[in-house]
């Protein structure tokens, strides 16, 4: 922003004619803005409006009923439970990875950074599949688990594992660059002044990277709450037991309960909008 303003100022003061010539003609400007807004309107605004319109199609009472129905609440509880495990686990990992990768130089550092991004390259369905291959009935550990009566697939542990897998890189990849940009001088000073390692981290490092952490946590949470493909493979879709909110939306939709499906979907959409708002605020602080 500042930079562009600076350029504009020098342009108008030093070379007014050049500045005018370099700008796109007004007609082109208007046409491009028009095309962009129509495209975004069609692909983003109309779907957003449709979610709420369909959710409220049968009135407020039907909406409230669909959202507070016991199976919907059970799905919400499972989604929150999954988030309560997956987000903190990936947060601890992200902070450890950030500290090791940003503050130290060691062999294999580049490889480690690349491997952290790996889950991004894996289709959600395949992310679920790999856990079925490990823990499923015909999986590697399947017979042993069956013998000890431990259920992972078609049960909550499988859902949590698959979700942790797909949301694995989100916090680490936001924290690493922010920690790198902050450098190590302040931490070194704190150490030399006698602070312990943990004190240094909590009092010096965390305040510096706080918005990067917020940014990563919000992206991770959005993915955890909304994950569908991976969870769909390992869940078994047992109502009230292994149904997360997105899976509940799917079941309602496939039963032609469209209004109820969109009512629950509107809750998820609301979470997505909150995510975008927090993300915008965090971005402003990082830059």
């Amino acid at each position: 922003m500042e930079r562009r303003a600076g350029v504009a100022v020098t342009g108008t003061i030093a070379r007014p004619s050049a500045a005018r010539r370099v700008a796109d003609p007004p007609l082109v400007r208007r046409a491009l803005v028009g095309i962009a807004l129509v495209f975004l309107g069609l692909f983003l605004a109309v779907p957003l409006a449709a979610v709420f319109a369909e959710a409220l199609a049968l009135g407020v009472r039907a909406y409230v009923a669909a959202v507070t129905e016991p199976y919907a609440l059970a799905a919400l509880r499972l989604t929150l439970l999954t988030a309560a495990v997956a987000v903190p686990a990936n947060l601890v990992f992200g902070l450890c990875a950030g500290w090791a990768i940003a503050k130290f130089r060691f062999r294999g550092r580049q490889l480690l950074t690349t491997l952290i991004d790996l889950p991004f390259a894996v289709s959600p369905v395949i992310s679920g599949l790999v856990f079925v291959l490990l823990f499923g009935r015909q999986g590697l550990l399947g017979p042993w688990l069956a013998e000890h009566d431990i259920r992972v697939i078609f049960a909550v542990p499988g859902i949590v594992l698959a979700t942790v897998f797909v949301s694995f890189p989100f916090i680490a990849r936001e924290v690493i660059p922010v920690m790198e940009a902050a450098g190590s001088h302040e931490e070194e000073a704190a150490r030399l002044l006698g602070a312990s390692g943990l004190q240094t981290f909590v009092r010096v490092t965390l305040p510096n990277i706080k918005w990067g952490v917020v940014y990563g946590v919000i992206l991770c949470t959005a993915r955890v709450v909304g994950e569908f493909g991976a969870v769909s493979v390992v869940s078994g879709h047992i109502r009230g037991m292994t149904n997360t909110l997105p899976l509940h939306v799917e079941i309602l939709y496939n039963e032609y309960q469209f209004q109820a499906a969109f009512a629950v979907a509107s809750v998820l959409t609301g979470m997505a909008l909150v995510t975008l708002a927090v993300k915008t605020v965090a971005e402003r602080h990082i830059r």
Binding site: A50, A121, V122, A222, V233, E250, L273
Partner: protein
């Protein structure tokens, strides 16, 4: 040498944080992923080949790549316009529009799926007028493409925005003051400068699209040979307890994803070299 060493050892915790990082990475990601090639190797070449050359599987690969490619083309065309408008022009609501670009990242894919299906179904807001013109969208490959355009949109826009921001207006001014027409400036300076980032965005969108499931499965209609995408076929095989079949299809998909990942890394290095120059 000694100074360099000591400046690195003043900070504690390398061993514990690196140890935890590697352990967590191995347990959550590497070991589960390794199961896929191991299972593939265990099933024997003949089973593997028979599965992935089954006409229904080949049709699903073709559909997946064709629709992902078509969606990349649409985003390749409109993404740069959106990015350019957001960086270079001022208009009312610009910041709001900029924030909403990431909606496809934040919105659960199942929500996107049922919403797009309802919109483009024969009786929907957009489906009805389109059907009147003889263009059914939902439950056809066009519908799948629409869902993939939605999913891929932020990749192209977000890849281009920082590069457009970085593109120095003074360079364009210099070209203009030396007598270049605006069209020449765009063709000779702007387009070549944006090319690596544009390709990166396209590759990211394409890579996401070939694995996409939630937003596609509702609008696709899922008819074997016609509108059945590869990820759905994996789930179908799993539901029939055909673990080997599912694994073989997934192994091919995963290999293609890794090749794309390598290509994207290369593109990003190229793009970064451009910008820092």
């Amino acid at each position: 040498m000694l100074a360099l060493r000591s400046s690195h050892t003043v900070l504690p915790g390398l061993r514990i944080t690196l140890g935890f990082t590697v352990l967590y990475l191995a347990v959550i990601v590497l070991v589960p992923l390794a199961g896929l090639p191991i299972r593939t190797a265990g099933m024997g070449w003949e089973t593997f080949w028979r599965t992935i050359t089954d006409p229904r599987v080949i049709a699903s690969y073709e559909l997946t790549f064709a629709t992902a490619g078509a969606a990349a083309c649409v985003n390749g065309l409109f993404g740069p316009i959106v990015a350019w408008v957001l960086v270079r022009y001022e208009f009312p609501g610009r910041r709001l529009v900029d924030a909403v670009i990431d909606l496809p990242f934040a919105l659960p894919t199942a929500v996107a799926g049922i919403t797009l299906t309802t919109l483009y179904a024969p009786g929907g807001w957009l489906g009805r007028p389109l059907a009147a013109y003889g263009l059914p969208v939902a439950f056809t490959p066009v519908g799948i493409t629409v869902a993939l355009v939605f999913i891929g949109l932020p990749f192209v826009v977000r890849a281009l925005q920082p590069v457009i921001q970085d593109l120095d207006v003074e360079v364009e001014e210099a070209a203009a003051s030396l007598g270049a027409r605006r069209s020449q400036v765009v063709a000779r300076i702007v387009v070549p400068y944006l090319l690596p980032a544009w390709l990166t965005g396209l590759a990211l969108a394409f890579a996401r699209a070939i694995g996409e499931y939630g937003s596609v499965v509702f609008i696709a209609g899922n008819m074997p040979m016609r509108t059945e995408i590869a990820p759905l076929l994996i789930i179908t095989k799993l539901e029939q307890y055909d673990y080997d079949g599912a694994t073989a299809i997934a192994f091919v998909m995963l290999s293609i994803s890794f090749v794309l990942l390598l290509a994207i890394n290369g593109l990003q290095a190229w793009s970064a070299a451009r910008v820092s120059r």
